[in-house]
């Protein structure tokens, strides 16, 4: 019987599709992503971070206040064709969850917490686990320590996964505006594979390397998509083929993170280069917020829009997305971070009211929001090769 890893690899390589990971930024984004995967009859992965969705015992996440169980049930109930893989994004110690934010966890506490989260992922049928202990570097641990953390977590998951049908993604470095240097990546990847082999643990299906994509504010500021070369950086056209060759020579697939806001040209080159997988997340949350903003303006619901904006600005979640010395307006801060507050009761109330006001005027507000998200996700899927097969 062909396992998930081999099956997915075959599907990606035989169709030269860039396998898409979609951030479930909201219930609507999640639903639209599932619909599109079933429409194209080709796998996508939904990639909640632990901040978005987490185990009930760890307080759940900010998206719909979903626990891992709720999220899994919701997806499985809609995914009639079985084209959606549940994929945990950035699982590692200190990768948040409510508990981590409440107090500074010691290393053993943080490892216990992430194991609790991973055990719940496995119990709820997750297919792909991205193990990312890179925050350990910020806590003073060495690169070697962080790699050992990844090995320990994979070993833990492997022992919990009795069916041995879960596949892994490893990425132990942070997003950067330039692609990774090949020689350094080669050393790191070889070291990681050697450690996994030593403990007879499975090779990861995906390996995360920096391709020069980085999200800040409402754009991609990495070197990948710059029309003029960034000073000091090697052009992506030079590095990416070498990075891909490295991954292929080691039997792993390249996963690109932070592919949000890339231009049509940059997306087109994903298939041309043969990038195996790419994740997009905040752009779809921003798309939904912008759609709501437009509707509230159209319906002249100015006080409701102001309330939603105030909640977002006071929430401060936009802060981590700003560039140094940013001149971004309050309106853009709202667009950047509105989605963090979709499950706030006040925002739910505003959205319900808009739906009622819209209905009176013959406008289906939710359909319009869904349509905007559909187009936004579909831009990626089409460029990545979804829908190109003739079966």
């Amino acid at each position: 019987m062909v396992g998930l890893s081999e099956h997915l690899k075959h599907q990606i390589l035989s169709t030269r599709t860039t396998f898409m990971g979609i951030g479930p930024m909201s219930k609507t984004v999640t639903r639209v992503a599932i619909e599109l995967a079933n429409q194209y009859r080709f796998p996508i992965s939904l990639i909640p971070s632990r901040r978005q969705v987490d185990a009930a015992s760890l307080g759940g996440g900010y998206v719909e206040n979903w626990t891992t169980y709720d999220f899994s049930r919701f997806v499985r109930s809609l995914d009639k064709g079985g084209f959606v893989l549940l994929s945990r994004d950035h699982s590692g110690p200190w990768q948040s969850g409510t508990n981590s934010e409440a107090k500074e966890l010691t290393f053993p506490e943080a490892m216990d917490e992430v194991k609790q989260s991973l055990a719940d992922d496995i119990a709820n049928g997750f297919n792909l686990l991205h193990i990312d202990p890179c925050i350990g570097m910020q806590k003073g641990f060495s690169e070697n320590d962080v790699e050992d953390m990844a090995v320990e977590l994979i070993s833990y998951c492997h022992s919990m996964n009795t069916q041995k049908d879960i596949v892994f993604e490893i990425g132990t470095d942070e997003q950067n505006s330039s692609p990774d240097e090949v020689e350094i990546s080669k050393i790191r990847l070889d070291r990681m594979l050697h450690k996994l082999d030593k403990y007879k643990l499975p090779k990861p299906l995906f390996y995360v390397l920096q391709t020069g994509t980085k999200v800040a504010e409402l754009r991609n500021v990495g070197s990948f998509d710059q029309p003029l070369s960034l000073k000091g950086s090697l052009p992506s056209t030079v590095l990416l083929p070498a990075i891909l060759e490295l991954c292929e020579s080691r039997g792993v697939m390249l996963k690109e993170h932070n592919a949000d806001y890339l231009s049509a040209s940059a997306l087109k080159w994903h298939r041309k280069f043969g990038i195996h997988g790419a994740n997009v997340a905040p752009e779809f949350g921003v798309c939904e917020t912008k759609a709501i903003e437009e509707i509230l303006i159209e319906l002249k619901m100015n006080s409701e829009l102001e309330r939603f904006m105030r909640i977002t600005l006071e929430g401060g979640k936009w802060g981590k997305w700003l560039l140094p010395d940013s001149l971004v307006s309050d309106n853009d801060k709202f667009r950047i971070a509105g989605h963090y507050h979709f499950s706030n009761p006040e925002v739910i109330e505003i959205r319900c009211k808009a739906q009622m006001v819209g209905r009176d005027k013959g406008i289906d507000i939710e359909a319009r929001i869904e349509n905007a998200i559909h187009n936004s996700i579909d831009r990626y899927l089409k460029a990545f090769g979804y829908g190109q097969r003739n079966d």
């Binding site: 330039s178 000073k231 950086s233 030079v238 083929p241 020579s249």
Partner: protein, 276 residues
């Protein structure tokens, strides 16, 4: 071999003092005859010309918009062709270039037996390429930054012999978008090659452009980049019917890959070694 290996063309626009300082520094490095140093003036105000100016234009259009890299260097190359004696290499320098490391003569001597090198990129001091070069003096590549270039006389001779009606740089690409890529393309497609060296390290001091664009009489850097891109894409569409820089880069890469196929022994000295 020594001092007679290289000619230099410097393109000045309204930075006479900066240009004179660069000439002085190069003279010190090179022990070079000033005859081998050509300063092209790009429509500078009279008091802002270099005292070493060899040739230039100061018609109304040039005073307004400058010559830019392609037209300016073409003028310098034409001037050089009329010199009694030219050296095997010519270094093209925008005036805001600062020399960080100069160890060229021995390097050029040692590289003279490498295969058909058309052009060598001096590494920028803050570039990833310089870090990758490490202790190596030279590696082959194909996609380098704009700015300074060392061009071999053999490639110039090849160009002027085979394409006598065309200037070395395409003057219809006024602001020089993708000039370095096109240079690599022309080299590889014609059986030459391109590489980068750590024996000459330069720094493009953008302070002049950032803080003195009014004095230089050019657009502020943001506006210049916008025009570079807009006009450059129009040039790319017109000349090659290629949609964007990505596609053009891959075309150049194909010619580079072909060069490596034909010269497999060189794959170990490429900027990125694709071997395991």
């Amino acid at each position: 071999m020594g001092r007679e290996m290289i000619d230099i063309i410097i393109l000045n626009r309204n930075l006479g003092e900066v240009c004179d300082a660069l000439v002085a520094k190069l003279s010190a490095h090179l022990d070079l005859e000033l005859d081998n140093m050509i300063v092209v003036d790009s429509g500078s105000e009279p008091e802002l010309k270099s005292r070493y100016t060899s040739i230039g234009l100061d018609d109304e259009r040039t005073r307004q918009h400058g010559l830019r890299f392609g037209r300016g260097m073409n003028l310098g190359l034409e001037y050089r062709r009329n010199l009694q004696k030219v050296n095997p290499w010519v270094l093209l320098l925008p005036v805001d270039t600062e020399i960080i490391k100069w160890d060229l003569h021995r390097f050029l001597d040692s590289i003279s037996n490498q295969r058909n090198i058309a052009a060598i990129k001096p590494a920028s001091k803050d570039s990833e390429y310089l870090r990758i070069l490490g202790d190596d003096e030279f590696r082959y590549g194909w996609n380098f930054e704009e700015g300074a270039w060392l061009i071999s006389s053999s490639f110039l001779d090849f160009h002027f012999k085979n394409f006598p009606d065309s200037s070395f740089f395409d003057e219809s690409n006024f602001r020089g978008y993708l000039t370095s890529l096109e240079l690599a393309f022309r080299a590889y497609i014609n059986g030459f090659s391109v590489g980068i060296t750590s024996s000459l390290v330069v720094f493009e001091n953008e302070t002049h452009l950032l803080e003195r664009s009014d004095l230089i009489r050019t657009e502020p850097i943001g506006e210049n980049q916008k025009l570079l891109l807009e006009e450059g894409l129009n040039w790319l569409h017109r000349k090659y019917q290629i949609q964007d820089a990505w596609d053009f880069a891959q075309l150049v890469r194909l010619t580079y890959d072909q060069f490596l196929k034909e010269n497999p022994d060189l794959s170990a000295i490429t900027i990125i070694n694709h071997g395991s």
